[in-house]
Symmetry: C2
Subunit: 188 residues, 2 copies
């Protein structure tokens, strides 16, 4: 009791996602998640604040990766190119978790509260990108617009990627989505 | 009792906004709003579901205006130009309510729950624009990207407009914000 359980976090995440898919997010309790994972509720709460945060625990590391990649891109890169490099790095990470991402998306799509939380997550990612651009000397409104454009590109590429028919990988879809944004804003 | 109060809605809105500004949104009750407006709680609930919806009652008519303007733009217009026309029409409407908009924004900025509700509102507006574009024959992802780009342009123009220093009107700021988005996505 009380000791660190190796792999506990991943087992809890997997158990939670399976239960949310089977019974619905609302109907699942922390006790059931812990039981399915073969762990105690106490271990659950050592890893996650509540059952909702199981689905959003990855947002922090996603944001760290976006910010660190953006910050380390050469200053000579145009802001949108630097943001694209950061989004592609995040896309490469998510590419390894396609089945998880698909299951998670289905759970979120079925619940209004989770959709709101997802909107908050994307707004935070956009704000973090805009702040990082400002620290690179990009003025507003260019910094905010570049960040918002980047997040829109990412979200739409992500939706395409988790759809059944898509065969392309996520970093490629992000590049294509940005090309499409350039085309639509140019009015073609 | 029970009869329609002319101007009641506007008086309730004004009273609510004043109280939210003075005491904070959380600390204000519907009873206080009704009293300040010289009306009953019953009249309040004839106009608004709860105290939060006072701040979001205009979202429906904003969406209707965006959708109807977009739907009536000639088919020959590029999707981004049609969306820009819709946003400028919405901007012209809001331009008449600058002081109200500024007060409302200050209330929302001070409350996390209201910020989430505002994110949901913008997501709904984006989804409505994307649906209207699809009905005009625009394919995805172009429809979603154009709608998301439009809403980003609108939000950033709006933030600039309610800031103290801005002297330009909102439709003009929307045009400038779109020009800026074109420039940043092109990588200039």
């Amino acid at each position: 009791m009380g000791r660190w359980e190796p792999g506990a976090r991943g087992r809890l995440e997997q158990a939670a996602l399976a239960l949310y898919g089977e019974r619905g997010f609302e109907q699942t309790t922390v006790a059931e998640i812990a039981k399915r994972a073969g762990l105690t509720e106490r271990t659950f709460f050592r890893h996650f604040a509540d059952k909702r945060e199981v689905l959003f625990a990855g947002a922090g590391s996603l944001q760290d990766l976006l910010v660190s990649t953006l910050a380390s891109t050469p200053d000579s890169a145009a802001p949108i190119a630097a943001v694209a490099a950061a989004l592609e790095a995040a896309g490469a990470l998510l590419q390894e978790r396609r089945e998880y991402s698909r299951q998670r998306q289905a759970v979120i799509a079925a619940n209004a509260e989770l959709q709101e939380r997802e909107l908050v997550k994307f707004a935070s990612l956009s704000a973090a990108l805009a702040d990082t651009l400002r620290r690179r000397g990009v003025k507003d409104p260019a910094a905010s617009l570049t960040a918002e454009a980047g997040i829109a590109v990412f979200r739409i590429a992500f939706e395409c990627w988790i759809s059944e028919t898509s065969k392309r990988d996520l970093p490629q879809l992000i590049r294509e989505s940005l090309d499409e944004l350039r085309a639509v804003t140019a009015g073609r």
